[in-house]
Symmetry: C2
Subunit: 135 residues, 2 copies
DNA sequence: CCGCATCCTTACCGATACTG
DNA sequence: CAGTATCGGTAAGGATGCGG
């Protein structure tokens, strides 16, 4: 694996490397979810809001704006009586969304193992308290 | 796309859905980078620290611990004079790391377009401050 | 060498209120 | 309906120092 093309000083992941930049872009609570939804077709603001449980209006607005800024999502306004705004994924955004499909598949097939491991770890922690603290 | 198996109320992404849980797991600054490095073979603590530019000792320690807790990374201690600790990716972690390869590829091939779009957006912003949208 | 504990500053993000 | 603006609590995370 070659990691990072802009590697200047021997580090696999320099701070300005494309992987780091892409990660900084998508590594938040909502970006991937929004991209995943828009992959299925254009949606309106409050439609997205309803679909994504727990997102605030502020974060949805903010995330959509940054996605539009980065050319991953497009925004179209319709001058209807109460104004209508439709968000759609761009071709560029679609290429990104595609790379994230395996992640969703992994989640559905492996997340149970993760949760199980986590529970086991926590159980051992409380069984052997003398190891780290208390005592 | 069917999105979420645990969808109870019509939402595509319920808060307890596997995709959300997996996202919460990897959506941080460092997890994906560490997984990517360990995919190439076991590494010691300070070795990882050197490879990942900008990570603090605290975050590396913290992230490794949570990865171990979730069964994605294993930790092995060698009782050498100054103690040696080796981290390795687990089979489960490897399945996750594999799903993230397309993301790194995407980053290297498309991040330039994103940055370009971002620059164009910011340029238009300052050119036409009174403008809201394009109808 | 590995990693935990503490302090402290920042930024995230939800709640609320208000505009077009 | 589709946002923006502001406030404030909280948690992420860097810096430093200590311990095994």
């Amino acid at each position: 694996m070659h990691h990072c093309a802009t590697d200047q000083d021997g580090n696999a992941y320099a701070s300005g490397c494309p992987t780091r930049q892409a990660l900084d872009r998508i590594a938040d609570k909502w970006t991937v979810l929004i991209l995943g939804l828009l992959e299925g077709g254009p949606m309106r603001f409050n439609q997205l809001r309803r679909e994504i449980e727990g997102i605030s209006q502020k974060m949805l607005s903010q995330t959509l704006k940054s996605l539009e800024r980065d050319g991953l999502v497009s925004r179209k306004v319709f001058a209807t009586v109460p104004v209508t705004v439709e968000y759609a994924i761009t071709p560029l955004g679609a290429t990104l969304a595609e790379t994230l499909v395996p992640l969703r598949v992994w989640a559905e097939t492996h997340i149970a193992q993760v949760l199980e491991s986590r529970a086991a770890y926590d159980r051992d922690e409380s069984d052997a308290p003398a190891r780290l603290d208390v005592a």
